[in-house]
Symmetry: C2
Subunit: 605 residues, 2 copies
């Protein structure tokens, strides 16, 4: 089974629009911000003490992710502008790589004496992102000088960490090198990179390593147990899903059944107990981390964009590792695509969220104002760049490789999996699948294929229609070659969280197909917290296209809870409602029209 964005062409519709926004706006905007902040010029290694724009120890990774995204775009489009920028960066990388293979801006120009001395300063993380970019660039262009430089770097890392043990730490504080080394192995075919990947994975969490516990917690960087014993997701959520992705890579490669079971348990734990209805993960700002099961506060949600992207990485690997459950993993990818990941970027493509809260309540945020205090809340508007700007280039590389998540080809059976629905073509070695659809605005998927296909029936779908014989297997409708359609029969519906999320009792979210909706005060007379949805009437809600958002919005017959108590603070229990139309917009569209109260979970009458 394989996924390869290079075999997929998105033709029109929702995802074409987003792919184009990325290749026309986002990739340039992120580069420009990185240029302005000094990240690009930092690759010249000219910074000296006293200069402004001192390179940060994670800048290499920001730019590397951007390069990776640029490479994916270049694989599809003639983009001399991007080519020039990437080639120029590669020039600098070649020029400034040390004799021994080492490459790191911060630890060369700012604090060279500290090379390999600080576990949490992202040295191997930066290396990993550069390696991923090199592989992507090689895949996209066939040019190998970047890849060769990174092979040399990886060999040097092996010397330091495996042969000489000369670093002051054993495993990285921020995982990434592991999955990057696996990718180096897959790209080059060289076993030594797989071995180094395995080395870092296997040594993680071993008591004998006595690794520094970052932020005072062994859990923070998944250091609390050896990898096979980690059955619950803990710590920094991006680090966690990057680690779990590499674990899935290794399990797939080695056929390690125990590791596979661990990966399955972790995926279950995240998606079954620690994930927001939007797909967001990591429910606290402290350590940007997972907390306990069912602890999913809405207003304080961290739900980092990178963590949603990382969960997509993990899910895609799980599709390969555990193909019987492929549809389940693909469901989570769809959830992220339309919600938790996509809310990370503004509708105009050049502003970004790091955190993605599920609720904004501006008045409550100012509760301590008279005391000269403020509490910590997620920001309400997307800025153009962050000091720690990992999310924007992560979106660039994700949105330029969407094909990776849409189709899979099973070499054994010759079947094509249609996992995500976009108006698109899969084509490779004579196999051609053509999908025509207005999904997610329309539930009809038209398919023309010369190979047998498996069409994912999303978990949210309560039954589908089709005009062709089929069987259903493990969440997929299986069809032979031909021309036919599948109707996923979308209706707006309310989604409740488990009763164990006790703070959500009495509330529900609105889902329409794969899209989770929210209410913004700007559409609802300034009010969201007193709105009620009516479970009986949600299915009949009116769906219309909003020019302002360029998306479909939903108007539900609902209610505004009004004061029964004639102004009293306490009175005998009663409830009074006024009928109102509640306008719901796709969650990923929130905060595109100024600061406004917002809620994914509304009260239910």
């Amino acid at each position: 089974m394989n996924f390869d964005y290079r075999n997929v062409t998105i033709r029109r519709g929702f995802w074409k629009q987003i792919e184009e926004l990325n290749s026309k706006v986002t990739v340039n905007a992120v580069y420009d911000r990185f240029f302005e902040t000094g990240r690009i010029d930092a690759f010249k290694f000219e910074w000296k003490k006293g200069d402004d724009k001192q390179p940060h120890f994670f800048w290499d990774s920001d730019v590397a992710k951007w390069m990776e995204g640029a490479a994916y775009i270049m694989a599809k489009e003639h983009r001399p502008d991007l080519e020039k920028k990437v080639e120029s960066l590669i020039d600098e990388i070649e020029k400034n790589q040390c004799e021994d293979g080492y490459f790191n801006i911060y630890f060369t120009v700012v604090q060279p004496e500290a090379r390999w001395s600080c576990r949490d300063w992202h040295e191997l993380y930066c290396a990993g992102h550069l390696m991923e970019a090199a592989c992507a660039y090689y895949d996209a262009t066939g040019r190998d000088r970047f890849l060769r430089a990174m092979e040399k770097y990886a060999e040097y890392i092996k010397r330091v960490f495996v042969d000489e043990h000369s670093a002051s730490f054993v495993t990285p504080g921020h995982e990434e090198i592991e999955l990057a080394l696996y990718r180096m192995y897959k790209t080059t075919g060289k076993e030594k990179f797989l071995e180094l990947c395995r080395h870092f994975l296997e040594r993680r969490g071993l008591a004998e390593n006595n690794e520094m516990n970052i932020g005072g917690s062994a859990y923070y960087a998944q250091n609390h147990l050896p990898i096979r014993e980690q059955k619950e997701a803990f710590g920094h959520s991006v680090r966690a899903v990057y680690l779990y992705s590499a674990m899935a890579d290794l399990a797939l490669e080695t056929g390690d059944g125990e590791l596979k079971e661990t990966c399955k348990a972790l995926f279950e734990n995240i998606t079954g107990k620690k994930m927001y209805v939007t797909g967001g993960i990591g429910s606290t700002y402290y350590g940007e981390a997972f907390t306990i099961c069912y602890d999913l506060p809405n207003a304080g949600a961290y739900a980092e964009t990178c963590a949603s992207i990382g969960l997509m990485f993990f899910a895609r690997r799980m599709m390969l590792l555990d193909p019987e459950n492929s549809a389940k993993y693909s469901d989570i990818i769809e959830l992220e695509m339309y919600n938790g990941m996509l809310s990370g970027i503004s509708l105009d493509g050049d502003k970004f969220f790091y955190e993605n809260p599920l609720e904004i309540f501006l008045e409550e945020r100012g509760r301590l104002k008279s005391l000269g205090k403020s509490e910590r809340w997620p920001i309400t508007q997307r800025p153009k760049v962050f000091g720690c700007s990992c999310c924007p280039p992560n979106l660039v590389r994700l949105l330029s490789s969407l094909g990776n998540y849409m189709y899979a080809y099973d070499e054994k059976s010759g079947e094509v999996y249609i996992d995500q629905f976009a108006d698109s073509i899969y084509e490779k070695d004579g196999v051609r699948v053509e999908v025509s659809t207005d999904y997610p605005y329309d539930s009809v998927i038209k398919i023309k294929t010369n190979a047998p296909v498996k069409v994912r029936i999303p978990e949210w779908c309560h039954g589908f229609g089709t005009n062709k014989d089929h069987t259903v297997e493990n969440g997929y409708a299986c069809f032979g070659a031909g021309e036919f359609e599948v109707d996923l029969l979308m209706k707006p519906e309310l989604v409740a969280s488990s009763v164990n999320v006790v703070r959500n009792l009495g509330k529900a979210a609105l889902r329409y197909g794969p899209v989770i909706y929210c209410a913004e005060a700007i559409d609802n007379g300034g009010e969201v917290h007193k709105l009620y949805l009516d479970p009986e009437r949600v299915a009949d809600a009116k769906i219309s296209y909003s020019e302002e958002l360029g998306r479909e919005v939903i108007d539900c017959d609902g209610f505004l809870r009004v004061d029964e108590q004639t102004g009293k603070l306490y009175a005998p229990y009663s409830r009074k409602f006024e009928p109102v139309t509640v306008r719901m917009i796709p969650y990923h569209c929130f905060a595109n029209r100024g600061e406004s109260d917002m809620a994914v979970y509304l009260n239910v009458k």
Copy 2:
């Protein structure tokens, strides 16, 4: 109109039990803790640098409040044990008072050079509490040496703050001296103390004073505006209600209509927008303060015991200042008596809460445990003493002077107001009112009186029965002399908060007569957050006496919300309930049987 606990004898029942607990257990327990911690011996002024138990700058006030409480008890009971302790403290006060009249332990033995230099170090606050104790002791015993010492102190304070302006601040950081000076005036008849009270009140919040803003906020110590312009309650809640009490004193004494309107506005603001259903006020730990209107988080409630007591002080003064609305103020006193104030003390009388949360959710408190972090929450069990131990002696003085809140005598009309219901006698100058009742366990109030009486009909009461002719006026049923009964017709009922308290939407509290109830996990199979009450069936709940608590408990037909979703984190909205009996106990009884989840607000089906 006047209130005087000395004219009231509580005979039996709920309040007799509490009064006795206080005079037999609490007053001794608090003294013993104060002795153990060095607070009593500190009055010997023998502490020297290097000694342990260094006096704190608020210790004088802790002991003074205890002395005040002991005085109230001595007025009713022959208590040579208390007399000896108080007299011995007065000996030390006389002995250690400075020539100039100054008396303060900390600023004499620890940091004498700092006298009158730090606005927030409670110097005038301590002075105020000593003056209150002196007045109480004089009223209770007729002995005046303590009062004379405090007169001398007050005169010295006038010299410093009015004549010489030699202090480095103009008004106290923690109010208390104002109401104490008013009391000195009422006790001694000397106008100069009223003038000094007025001085401190009138200078508060004047821009020209340029007072230090404590904690960076002018609001914290009610320093943001001159007193007549303060229409919303802000800042440290105990300071606030002590200030407002003194403002009401001054308005009453001077007939200042503008100040009266300010006091009414403040009372309305607190009780109409910033008070928990238990009577708790001050909804944040930060600054122990009021926040914005309708911001009443349950689990994080601060709701300091002293603030509830202070609101009782303010309410009693408002009864005098605004007698047409007397019943309304008395309603709030009743709310505090059975709930917010009373939860401050354990059922066995020797342990105390400073904060009184409306919800405990132990699991959620540990959400950051894996990250080595903890969030700040109210404690879950009452300790015997605090470093800042203001609440325990405040309870001692309040619970020994309950008669102050029960009856008022209107000299003009000759009527006796029966404001709080206890099995008790009011007797003064030939007027005798005898109340027989098992309230709050029984709703029948039997009255035998030789004077006309006004019986408060509580706001929670939806209609009353009586066997005697009467009129109803401003919340009171008015009767002539005779023997009759009034039945307040109690039924358990659900109470909702205003829809503006959006975090409570979908929830309600249970009230039975004046008592607010809560659910503890220990009584409910370990669960409170998934419990639902049924508004249709609450009135038929079963009321029974619990030997364990010594209180009436209520068993409601209710529901446990169970998982409809077969273990899924998200699923189409539906609700599944299992019928359960929900045991509710009086809120003030929570946390008497070990640590347990607790909630005042339960979900409503």
